[in-house]
Structure formats: C-alpha cells, structure tokens
C-alpha cells in the first residue's frame, strides 16, 4: 500500500516583480488503487503540481511524501525513488525521442539490474503487449505511429519502471475523440490490474469524472474543493466548481440564449486578487452581492477544512443554494 501526499506544497517561479506563485499551499493525498482527478483551467497550477510530484520542478515550501518519506526534486532523488513516480505527458509527439526506436525508449525505463539483451527484449515486448501494441513494432521510430499509438508507448515506458504512482497530465487532450476513449479505457484497465496510485490531470471535467475516484478542483494555484468525485460533482460546494460543472457541454440541445455560468477570464496569475481569488468572477460574491466584503478581505482557505468538501468559500453553504440554473 503506497500513499502519495502533498503537504502545504507551494511552488514559486521567478523573483521580485516577476515572481509567480504557481501553486499555493496545496494539500492532496492519493493511495494505491485509487485515481485522484485534478481539474482546473489555465493558470490553475495543475500541471505544476504534476511537475512537483515528479520532481521536475523544485518545491519552494511544503513537502511531497511517498509513504511518509519526503521526496526532493529530481536531482535529490535516488534512482529507486525516481522509478517509483512516473509520468505520461500531454503531447505524445513531444514525449518520445524521434531518433530512438520505441522499444529502446521503453527499455531505457526498465529498472536497473542485470538482464540479458534477450530478457530485456522480452520485457519490452510484454509491456508493448500490455498497452495493446504489436511487439514486433519495437524497432519502429515514433514517426511511424499515430498519436494514440504513441501515447500507448508513453504509457508502456512509464509502466516499465514499475511505478507506485503514475502522473497523467492531460494525456488525451492532444488526441482525437475516438482515440481518447481507447486510451482512457486502457488507463483504467491497467490501473485496476496493476493497482498503482494515479494523479489524473485534465481540464475536461467529463473525462476526469469518468476516470477518477477522488476529485480536487484547482483555481489560480489553490485547491478550492476536494472530495469523493461523485459527491463533489453531484453537489458542488464552491461556486467555481458549480460554474465548471455548468459549463460542460452536453449533447442535449440548449435553449436560446445560452446560460453563461461565469463572466470574465481567469486573472493574470502574476497579479492575483486579494481575499478569495475567485471573487471578481464569482456569481455569489461581491460582484453580485456587494455586502459580501469578506470575500475581498479574507482568504477563505483558512477555514476550508471545516467546510463540506474542504471548500475554500466563505459562503459555501449559501453558494450551494444559489446554484446556477441551466445545469
């Protein structure tokens, strides 16, 4: 049983006027056999969380723990520690070395240790088979493969290291929808069979819902709500989660005019609003209800633990009643 925990993780980039807090005091936990979905829009910090977990960016403060043992950034991780956390990237056209056969790419990730050439080849063939690729394609270069097939190779490479934690960062957003389904099915099947813990990151709420057991919603570098996936989505506490749920396109035709759950754009992360970062766009915040000045003055994160789904909203209960129409 493995548990990955993030304890008050903060990641900053740059200094002085260019300083950017990409992730602010994030607490997350995911155990083996479960999938934690991380959803959010641009600048939410979800990909930075992925990089902090894999050690590709150093954590400014807070800790990433694997079974209670702190993991540093990649340079401070031992080979064995590196192996335990693997990642599948968004763009399968950028994540495979164009000059290396797919078999070599997978073989490179096999755990260190003495093994003969033919034994290694056997393991690679087994891994390719696991992700539904023909083992005799091992000699091919990525250029001969479609996007979906490349993403399968990337998955095989991640699994070659026999990871305890798999980080999947927008793994289907570069793929066609008909291929997306196959990759999601494969990921779920392997996850159930091999039992690793998964951090599944996507901007697509419907995709996250289909894959995840637990759900964390991020906005401007913070987790604003988290809990059991179905609980959060059936009764979202935070107005931002409500807006996200309401914005998911459905195949049910809509009335005219279309309901717009939230106005405005995600603010510049360099220049975050004071108090609750969502207040300038919030449908139940001071923009709509001017007496709610607390949203501008006080960070709702402080009391979050006591609210349902740890919602970072001063009016979580109120917000629930005022759920937007048109859902």
């Amino acid at each position: 049983m493995t548990t990955l925990e993030l304890e008050q993780v903060t990641v900053e980039f740059g200094r002085g006027a260019r300083r950017l807090v990409a992730v602010r005091a994030v607490d997350l936990a995911v155990g083996s056999g479960t999938v934690l979905g991380l959803v959010g829009e641009s600048a939410s910090g979800k990909s930075t969380v992925a990089k902090a977990v894999t050690g590709l960016v150093p954590v400014t403060s807070g800790r990433v723990l694997l079974d209670g043992q702190p993991l540093g950034d990649l340079r401070r991780r031992s080979r064995a520690q590196r192996r335990r956390v693997q990642m599948v990237f968004q763009d399968p056209y950028a994540s495979l070395d164009p000059r290396m056969s797919i078999g070599d790419s997978v073989a490179e990730a096999l755990p260190q240790g003495r093994r003969s050439r033919s034994a290694a080849r056997g393991e690679v063939a087994e891994l390719l088979g696991l992700v539904g690729l023909d083992a005799d394609r091992a000699q091919q270069l990525p250029g001969n493969l479609s996007g979906g097939q490349r993403q399968r190779v990337a998955l095989a490479r991640a699994l070659a290291a026999r990871p305890d934690v798999l980080v999947a960062d927008e793994v289907t957003s570069a793929l066609d929808v008909s291929v997306q389904g196959a990759i999601l099915n494969l990921l779920r099947e392997l996850q159930e069979r091999l039992g690793f813990a998964t951090l599944f990151i996507s901007h697509n709420l419907a995709v996250v819902r289909y894959v995840s057991d637990e759900l964390a919603v991020m906005y401007l570098g913070r987790v604003v709500e988290q809990g059991r996936c179905e609980d959060v989505l059936s009764a979202p506490s935070h107005p931002y989660t409500q807006a996200l749920v309401a914005a998911v396109p459905t195949t049910q035709p809509r009335s005219s005019p279309l309901p717009v759950p939230v106005e405005g754009d995600v603010p510049d992360p360099h220049d975050q609003p004071p108090g609750c970062a969502f207040h300038p766009r919030c449908q139940v915040g001071p923009r709509a209800l001017p007496e709610r000045t607390v949203c501008v003055t006080t960070d709702p994160q402080v009391q979050a633990a006591s609210r349902r789904h740890a919602a970072a909203c001063h009016f979580a209960a109120v917000a629930q009643e005022a759920a937007p129409a048109g859902r």
Partner: protein, 632 residues
C-alpha cells in the same frame, strides 16, 4: 524517401552546381599534387616571371615555376588546413556547448556565460593574435582559426541542446533514472546533429577564406610551403605587370568558398531546415470546374440561401483529396455545425468556403454560390469585396490572426476603412462600439491596447467584433473555443448565438467536439474522410444517430452522465489515407456493421426519417418510430 530527396536536390541548378564544384575540388585535391608537383616545384631560371603563354597558362613566378600548377597543387593543402581548423572548432565547440547538459545548473550557467562572452570577441582579431601566440606557421594558424570557431559552435550547440533538454522525452528519461551522460549521448546529440553538420559545412567555407587571409598576411603557411593565400601574396607583388598570377589563386579561393557554402545550403535544404525561398508560381485560388457555367442562368439569389455548395472537392498535388464531394447549404440565420476528427476535411471545407485555401490546393465544385453569386465567376476584386464584407472568419488561435504590433482598436477600425470606405475617425468610433457589443469591458481604453494585453477569450471576441463591422451574412468559426478554458468557451458560444440573434448572420461552426456543436447549432453535418456521412437536425442526429460513425463518435465522448462502470465506445483502426481511399464506404474497414456491399459500393447520402446518412445499413430500427421530419 531520404535518398530520393537527395536526388531531387541534385536536379536543381544549385544542387547540380554544388555537386560539380565539390567533385572538382575533390579531384584536384587528390590528383593534383602527384600529377603536377614537378611543374609546381622545379626551378626554371630560363622562364622567370613570364606572362601567360601556351606552355604556362597563367605564367610563371619569380623562380620560373608554373603558377597554374602551383594553384592546383595548393588545393589539397588549402582545403585540408581549412577542414582541420573547422574540425577543431566543431569538436571543441560541441564539447564546450554540451557541457551545460552534463554539469549541474550553476556550473552550466557559468559555461554558457563564458561562451557568450567569447562569442563577442571579433573572430579575425582573435585569430591574428592567437597566430602570433602559437608561432607563425601553418600549425599556429590552424590552431588559431580552430579555436576562434569554438565559441560560435559552442553557443549553437548550447542553444540547440537547451531546446532539446526541455523536451518531454528528456524529462521522461530523467524520471526513468537515466544519467546525464546517457541523456547527452542518447537523446540530445542525435537530435541536434543535423543543424550542427550544416553549420560545420558552411563554417568550412569561411575557414577557407580566413585561412587564405592569414597566409596572405604572412601569418599562415610559410615558404617553401604554399597555399592559395600564400600564392595570392606572391602574385600581388606583380599585380601590375602580370595580373593573372594574382587573380588565379584569388579565383580559386572564391570558387572553393562558394562551393562549400552552396554545399551547406544544399544539405540544409534537403534536411529541411531552411524553407525553400523560391517564390512559387501564382496558382489560382479557385480552379474552374468544367461544368460550372450554369451560374448565369441562376443569377437571381434564392433569398434565404446564404451558402450553396455542391460536390465540393479540394485536391493537393500528389493525388491527395482531403475533401471529396461535400455538399453544404446554409440558410439565412441558420447555425450549422460541422463535426469530424482531424483529417476529416472539415477545416479545408471551411477555408474553401471562405476562399482561403492554400495556394497549392485546387478546388472544384458543381456549384459554389455565396449569396447567389458564383464565387468562381468573380474576379479577384469582386471576390474580395463580397467575401470581405459579407463573410467573417474566426480561427482557433486568435493570437496568430491579430497583428501583435497594432493597437486592437486600429485593427478593428481598419476593416471599416478598407471594406466600407469609412473615414478614420468614424471607423475608430465604430470600432469602440463593436468592442462594446462583444462585451469587452472599458472598450475605449481596450481599443488603445495591443493584442498581447488581452486574454485568449478577449482576443476571440475581438476577432468576432472585426467580423461584425461589415454586417456579415455568414460567420465561419473554425474551432473557435478549442484554445479556451471551459468557462470562457461558454461565453464565446453565447456571443456567437447573440450575433445570430441580433444580426441575423448565419454561423458555420467547425469543431471536433460534438458537445460544442450541440450547445450552439440547429443542424449538424458529420464529416468523415473528406465527405459528409450524416446530416440533420442536431436533436435527431445526436440523440439517434443513423450512421455507425456518428453513433461511435457520440458514444465515445464521455459526458457528465456516462456510466463509469462500462468502458467507453471506441473506434478501432485509423481513417483512410486521403490519397488512397478504399473502394466503397470509407468507414467500412472500421465499421462493426459492414457487409460485403459496403466494401464495393460507395453509399450516397440517403434521406432517412429525421436525417440523411451515407450508409447501406444504418441504425434505422431505433428510428423507425420517428416521424419523417423536414430534411434540409
């Protein structure tokens, strides 16, 4: 494929000249010295300082040696020295430039800083002083030129390597525990090899020139040795009485330098690093289809039809036809969605409609009418004015369709100035009004800003505002929300719907996302492999698809009600290659319902209750109860 592109390069004038020049240099360098060394070195006191003659084409020098023979013999030394110094430069540069990959962050930064400073020194000056340091002579000059070339190669290597080192596949290798050395050898060097080779070739050409310069100044090859620079020096003393003796080695240096540079360019072209700068012959945007001349007869516009395209085909040289027989009709104020995956031809269909196909594409159609005008019969100016005012286009990436150097208000105003002939002042006022109309807050202030100060959603609104200036009859939006956040996506879709409601403009929305189309459109056109496979009212088609492809497309996308316990529907295989479509239905190889007929006969679009579908065995059973609705 690689070999054929080299052969093709040989057939271009540049390529042929390069090959000829390099071959000549090679032959001279190999054969020259053994054949002509005698003539080049034997003193002949009876023939001192002769001018050109039958026996000595370029005359003789102060010791009676044949100048032409000396030039030919010097080929080997001149080129050899240039190559050796280039080799020193490349090896040193690659080693130095690759150091940051192997070293830690801080040491790597120090190396890069050193390289940056070293590059700033003027090369020839450094070479001159180094040549003095190493001692005057060929060895000193080779070392000097080689070391001078090191910083620039180091910087090139470091920059290229830094680009590769950020690639996801290097991150993946690091996660897998690969050492820095392994990452350098297995991932970085193979991926930066091509540009390095090309630059080394071009560098050899300039090393040749620089070496000739050093020898000419007396800092390179010393007597009795001689290279072209040395010969140039000797010849220069007699420039007034025997100019050919000086010109000969000069011409040799120039020709060899040009040959090397051309070689580098040719390699670059084949490898594809430089784009072909030759201007392609202007290809007409719309090639007239043979039978398209009934346009005059039907000149009176049927007034509710905005766009009427029949049997549209878009072809590219090489036999690829990504759009093969698409018919599309859009009525006034209608919102039509075209859905399909990448390669389905949906974007090319939109570009063809807007007259924006790339120049190498050819379009043909049985009918192509916009507002009753046959767009193929219009001349350039008429087409520009018709499409410019009545058709607006919104693309996926608004940043690349806005000019980053111009203020936003100016760009919107320009539309009114160009197409409506408005004065600058009225156009500027109108632009602010249009920005307000697409709900940009503080429009007067925003009009003064540049596109980079706008968020993605706001830029997309600006694009729509530009389209609204001239009261369009059709707005073509190609994946307008794909680059946007979901909350912003809804805002833009709502804006598109308002444009229709308030301006009466028809909207053609292209998307890979069935959900986005369902949100906005009344009618949906499903494209697969360059043709329409199903078409009908959104409610009918998406709720009860008749074509197996539509059904798979709808079911493969999870939405907020998809049961988590069941696997998602998937489509096996890949769409056919647009240059080699199979006989029969293009979806047959991937279709679970396909039978023998499907692989032999191509199904046309057939009317079915509530929809039209190109399928011999559609999902009709589930639709049987549905009354036949109006089919567009």
């Amino acid at each position: 494929m690689q070999r054929s592109s080299w052969l093709r390069a040989l057939r271009t004038p540049t390529g042929a000249a390069t090959a000829l020049g390099m071959l000549l240099l090679l032959v001279l360098a190999v054969v020259g010295p053994p054949l002509m060394r005698d003539a080049a070195t034997t003193f002949n006191t009876s023939a001192i300082r002769q001018g050109p003659s039958g026996a000595h084409w370029l005359g003789t020098d102060a010791l009676g040696r044949d100048v032409l023979a000396r030039i030919v013999v010097a080929t080997r030394l001149s080129i050899g020295l240039a190559l050796v110094s280039t080799l020193i430069g490349v090896v040193g540069g690659v080693l130095l430039g690759a150091l940051p990959v192997v070293l830690g962050r801080r040491a790597g930064r120090a190396v890069r800083a050193f390289v940056d400073v070293a590059v700033a020194f003027p090369g020839l000056l450094v070479a001159l002083s180094l040549a003095v340091v190493f001692g005057v002579g060929a060895r000193g000059a080779v070392l000097a030129l080689g070391l001078t070339a090191v910083p620039s190669f180091a910087r090139l290597t470091a920059n290229l390597a830094a680009g590769v080192a950020e690639a996801d596949y290097v991150s993946a290798a690091r996660l897998a525990g690969a050492s820095r050395g392994r990452i350098l050898v297995r991932h970085v060097l193979p991926n930066i090899g091509e540009p390095l080779v090309i630059n080394a070739t071009i560098g050899a050409g300039s090393a040749l020139l620089a070496f000739a310069g050093l020898s000419f100044l007396g800092l390179g090859v010393q007597p009795p040795g001689y290279d072209w620079g040395r010969l140039l020096n000797e010849g220069l003393n007699r420039i007034y009485d025997a100019p050919v003796a000086a010109l000969g080695p000069g011409v040799a240096v120039v020709l060899a330098g040009v040959a090397f540079s051309l070689f580098g360019e040719t390699v670059a072209q084949v490898v594809g690093l430089r784009t072909d700068s030759r201007v392609k012959g202007a290809v007409p945007r719309l090639a007239l289809a043979g039978e398209a001349q009934d346009g005059a007869v039907r000149a009176a516009p049927r007034d509710d039809l905005v766009l009427d395209v029949e049997d549209l085909t878009v072809a590219f040289p090489g036999g690829s036809t990504p759009v093969a027989g698409v018919s599309l009709r859009i009525h006034r104020g209608e919102m039509v969605g075209v859905v399909g995956e990448s390669g389905s031809g949906k974007s090319l269909t939109a570009l063809a409609v807007a007259g924006l196909l790339p120049p190498q594409a050819t379009m043909s159609a049985r009918r192509a009418e916009f507002l009753g005008h046959d767009v193929r019969a219009l001349d350039d100016r008429e087409r520009r004015s018709l499409l410019g005012t009545s058709l607006a286009m919104v693309f996926q990436d608004p940043m690349s369709s806005l000019n980053p150097a111009l203020r936003v208000g100016r760009q919107v105003a320009e539309v009114a100035e160009v197409h409506l002939g408005a004065s600058r002042a009225t156009a500027a006022g109108d632009a602010v009004a249009k920005l307000a109309e697409v709900r940009i807050a503080a429009p007067a202030l925003r009009a003064q800003q540049h596109p980079h100060q706008f968020s993605g959603g706001m830029r997309q609104r600006v694009m729509i505002a530009m389209g609204l200036v001239a009261q369009p009859r059709l707005l073509v939006a190609d994946e307008p929300t794909t680059a946007l956040d979901v909350t912003v996506q809804r805002q833009v879709l709502a804006l598109l719907r308002r444009v229709r409601d308030e301006h009466g403009a028809a909207v053609l929305l292209i998307s890979h996302d069935v959900g986005v189309i369902a949100e906005l459109c009344e009618r949906v056109v499903v494209m697969y492999a360059g043709r329409v496979v199903e078409e009908g009212p959104v409610a009918d088609v998406l709720a009860r698809p008749a074509h197996p492809y539509t059904r798979a497309l709808v079911e493969s996308v999870p939405d907020m009600t998809t049961p988590r316990t069941r696997p998602l529907v998937t489509i096996t295989g890949r769409p056919p290659d647009p240059s080699a479509r199979p006989d029969g239905c293009p979806f047959a190889p991937r279709c679970p319902r396909a039978q023998a007929r499907c692989t032999q006969e191509d199904p046309p679009l057939m009317a079915m209750p509530g929809t039209r579908a190109a399928c011999w065995f559609p999902h009709l059973d589930e639709r049987a109860a549905l009354a036949a609705g109006p089919v567009a």
